[in-house]
């Protein structure tokens, strides 16, 4: 047990050291980790709040209370906490993007969520501290264009290449509590600060001598407050003596975010290279509306070792005001439907083998997406599979998830992406503040 704990601690520490410069994927990274091309638009691709114990299904897990891994999707489950639980995770996603003329491959490696849940009163009142991404904007594009003869003060055409590298997104640091009133009803609330930066580096390189390259950096900063509510409950012995039905619902209110944008460039002034600000705006005090989100779900366990989970997410992206850019009306309301299953053989008595001390999960989701371009929804269908390796003593675990999905379409000049992802999460479960009773 001590060796496994040590391994887990060392692994987390090493991973934190390696990826500290890219914490949550939201900080500036000169090496431009490239993700989905669609994260170029708006404030990026929305991320789902999920429980690490159910991430292998791809659902949010709003109706799932995993005893050994902390939940993020529903404040209501925090009141049903017995152990102190902490988790962190890393994800890599490979994108194979295609349009009607060409293709590209991009990779994204990033830290996901940090989440800690403490039981103030075991199985009655719990507190959560968590930091997680709300959106990600990580992309790299390259375009070749030319100004035709006569349009560039020259009898010849002027060709140039434009590279756009973007990184950043919105993150949420949240503090909340959950309170189990009765088995059938738990409530929860969390308040949070929403913050983030989206940085877009643009470089223009001309193909003709005598033209200086142009490079500028546009950084948009956001900040605001968020509020979230949750409900959770369990019903036992509905159809059999071993079955259990749980429900969950979570509501995140829309948030008004202040936004500021600064554009800088490096220019030679006199004899030295200087970084100069060429544009600053606070958009006249207008605020970005981060949309309301609501999730409802059900989980049914016909027996302790099997769970069937389903949930639906709705985000009101039609309320997102795109005043930051010149493109209008590209967001629409988003729905995400998910269905999955968990198999936990370790809960079956008299089975003790390597494979039985592992949790298995699989699921499929359909996400309508929050973007509508050229009259097309940018939807995503994703299948996931994963397993958890459990520590036999403390039930700490390592979860490994594989996912494969398809996003978008090649119609109307858009891009279709094949996504292959892998996630590793670490769950630490400890019985803290426990005073053993002597017999």
């Amino acid at each position: 047990m001590q060796q496994i704990k040590l391994t887990l601690v060392l692994t987390v520490t090493l991973a934190g050291f390696l990826f500290s410069g890219n914490l949550y994927g939201q900080q500036q990274d000169d090496k431009a980790r490239s993700g989905s091309i669609y994260s170029y638009l708006g404030v990026g691709i929305p991320e789902s709040k999920t429980n690490t114990g159910i991430s292998s299904i791809g659902l949010t897990g709003v109706a799932v209370n995993d005893m050994y891994s902390p939940g993020l999707s529903n404040p209501g489950v925090w009141g049903n906490t017995y152990f102190t639980k902490a988790s962190g995770d890393f994800t890599i996603q490979n994108y194979k993007a295609k349009d009607n003329t060409t293709s590209a491959k991009n990779s994204l490696l990033e830290v996901g969520t940090l989440n800690i849940v403490f039981p103030i009163s075991k199985n009655r009142l719990g507190i959560s501290l968590n930091l997680h991404p709300l959106t990600r904007s990580t992309f790299r594009t390259f375009q070749l264009t030319e100004l035709p003869p006569g349009d560039n003060n020259s009898p010849d055409s002027l060709s140039y290449g434009e590279e756009n590298k973007g990184y950043g997104g919105l993150s949420q640091f949240e503090v909340g509590f959950g309170w189990r009133l009765i088995d059938q009803l738990s409530v929860g609330y969390a308040t949070s600060v929403i913050f983030g930066e989206i940085e877009n580096q643009t470089s223009v390189i001309f193909g003709t001598n005598g033209y200086d390259n142009i490079a500028f950096n546009r950084r948009t900063s956001f900040s605001g407050w968020g509020h979230r509510f949750g409900l959770y409950g369990e019903f036992k012995n509905l159809l059999s003596s071993q079955d259990r039905l749980t429900y969950g619902a979570a509501l995140s209110l829309s948030a008004k975010l202040e936004a500021e944008q600064e554009t800088t460039t490096d220019r030679v002034v006199g004899n030295s290279l200087e970084t100069v600000t060429i544009g600053e705006t606070d958009f006249d005090g207008r605020k970005v509306t981060y949309p309301m989100e609501t999730t409802v779900g059900l989980k049914y366990n016909p027996r302790p070792s099997i769970g069937i989970v389903g949930d639906v997410l709705y985000q009101e992206w039609s309320e997102y005001d795109n005043f930051i850019s010149t493109r209008q009306d590209i967001t629409k309301d988003r729905y995400k439907f998910g269905l999955g299953m968990r198999y936990m053989p370790y809960k079956i008595e008299n089975i003790d083998s390597f494979l039985s001390n592992t949790k298995y999960r699989a699921g499929i989701t359909y996400d309508t997406g929050h973007l509508e371009l050229q009259g097309k929804n940018i939807s995503t269908i994703m299948g996931s599979f994963g397993f958890s390796i459990l520590s036999p003593d403390t039930r700490s675990s390592i979860d490994i998830t594989f996912e494969y999905g398809i996003r978008g379409t090649k119609d109307e000049g858009l891009v279709r992406e094949e996504i292959f992802g892998m996630n590793v999460s670490f769950n630490l479960t400890e019985l803290m503040f426990y005073r053993p009773r002597l017999r």
Binding site: T11, D99, S107, I214, F216, T220, V276
Partner: protein
């Protein structure tokens, strides 16, 4: 018992696998992240963030000036001649020269004129004739009648000279020739040469004003090479002439405008006889952006009037157009020739001169606006008289303009 042993072995293996799985997972993550090939997808729906544009800024403030003093002393060439250019008007140039009296050229005294001899050796650049290359130009050497110093002789001042010719010579198209000097001249010269007073050089310059080279017929303007022009002297019995350089040379010229001049054209004549002043309004608003890739000043040469020269008549090819960046109060006493200068060759595709102003414009946008104008003349530091015609702001098609290529930075995502 065997089953228990097997269970223990199995359990030990399980523990080993469990311990190594996190490290394996980490490596898989890193290796899986190494493959990347960002291509050009999404080009049809991804808007340009940069919005590259080209624009043209017509320059309204274009003027000419003949008031900038320029000094023609001791240049590589000194010019003399007389020519009527049908496009640019009538040119008259008079040169001055004063030979050295240095005694360090293997001769320290001159004997009486009966026993000594003097002549002038001239070297001229026949490639830089301005006028009729086949005609014969007659020049007279006359005595200059005023004190002058090469460092302060303005090129727009014609020298004054006496009525009597010291000597006469003709130039057709030879590049080297000699002219005998009369005894009367040699007599005067040897008195200064043989003097042994302590301030002999000052006395010489103060009292002897040298010779002017004056054209006697309209033919061409001839550039005399200063280094090649020598006073050759010898005493009887010397095997060869001793060659003394010209201590001082200078020239002045003026130009009378032609009877008719196209109002869309401005004559530009070197040594600031006539310069064009271009004053574009350069700021972020007129330039369109603060992100500029190329800003160039375009000036266009006349393509019709200049070609109408008689057969065998030429103008010297202009090696470069010079564009000086100066504030108005800096030119009151002249323009220092080699600083803040753009040297521009002619673009043969469209007969234009293009000056790259990108660095200067960045200084305006991001530093301090120095408040300068641009003064345009043909190359003017060799002593050869260059002249041309450029279009001014009255020309609709070929007026001076600023050509801008840059990128706007509106957010488009």
């Amino acid at each position: 018992m065997l089953q228990n042993i097997l269970k223990k072995i199995t359990y030990g293996n399980i523990q080993h696998i469990r311990k190594s799985l996190p490290a394996v997972a980490l490596w898989v993550l890193v290796l899986a992240g190494c493959s990347e090939d960002p291509g050009v997808v999404g080009g049809s729906f991804i808007d340009e963030s940069s919005e590259v544009y080209s624009d043209t800024l017509n320059i309204e403030d274009v003027r000419t000036t003949s008031d900038i003093p320029d000094f023609s002393g001791n240049m590589e060439y000194f010019s003399a001649g007389w020519y009527n250019d049908p496009a640019l008007g009538e040119f008259e140039a008079v040169a001055m020269m004063r030979p050295s009296i240095s005694q360090s050229y293997n001769i320290d005294s001159l004997r009486e004129v009966e026993f000594s001899d003097a002549r002038l050796q001239f070297v001229i650049n026949t490639d830089k004739f301005y006028g009729d290359t086949t005609s014969t130009t007659t020049f007279e050497l006359r005595s200059v009648t005023h004190i002058w110093r090469p460092g302060s002789w303005r090129s727009d001042s014609l020298p004054s000279y006496g009525n009597t010719a010291v000597q006469e010579f003709e130039v057709t198209n030879q590049d080297t020739f000699e002219v005998n000097l009369p005894d009367s001249w040699l007599q005067e010269y040897r008195e200064y040469f043989n003097s042994d007073v302590a301030n002999r050089d000052s006395v010489y310059r103060y009292n002897y004003n040298g010779m002017a080279i004056v054209a006697q017929n309209q033919s061409k303007i001839v550039p005399f090479n200063r280094q090649g022009t020598r006073l050759m002297v010898k005493n009887e019995g010397d095997t060869a002439y001793k060659k003394l350089p010209m201590e001082s040379v200078a020239f002045g010229f003026n130009r009378r405008e032609p009877a008719q001049m196209d109002s869309t054209l401005t004559p530009l004549v070197g040594l600031f006889n006539n310069a064009m002043i271009v004053n574009p309004e350069l700021n972020q608003q007129t330039l369109g952006s603060q992100n500029l890739s190329r800003v160039e000043l375009a000036l266009f040469k006349d393509q019709e009037t200049l070609v109408n020269l008689p057969v065998d008549h030429v103008r010297p090819d202009i090696p470069e157009m010079r564009v000086y960046r100066r504030s108005p109060d800096e030119v009151t006493y002249g323009i220092g020739r080699e600083s803040r200068l753009y040297r521009v060759a002619e673009d043969s595709l469209d007969n234009s001169y293009r000056v790259n102003l990108t660095s200067y414009v960045n200084q305006i946008l991001y530093g301090q606006d120095p408040g300068v104008q641009f003064y345009v003349v043909p190359e003017s530091s060799s002593g050869i008289i260059y002249a041309t015609l450029l279009y001014n702001s009255k020309s609709v098609e070929f007026r001076p303009k600023v050509l801008i290529t840059g990128a706007k930075t509106e957010s488009v995502n």
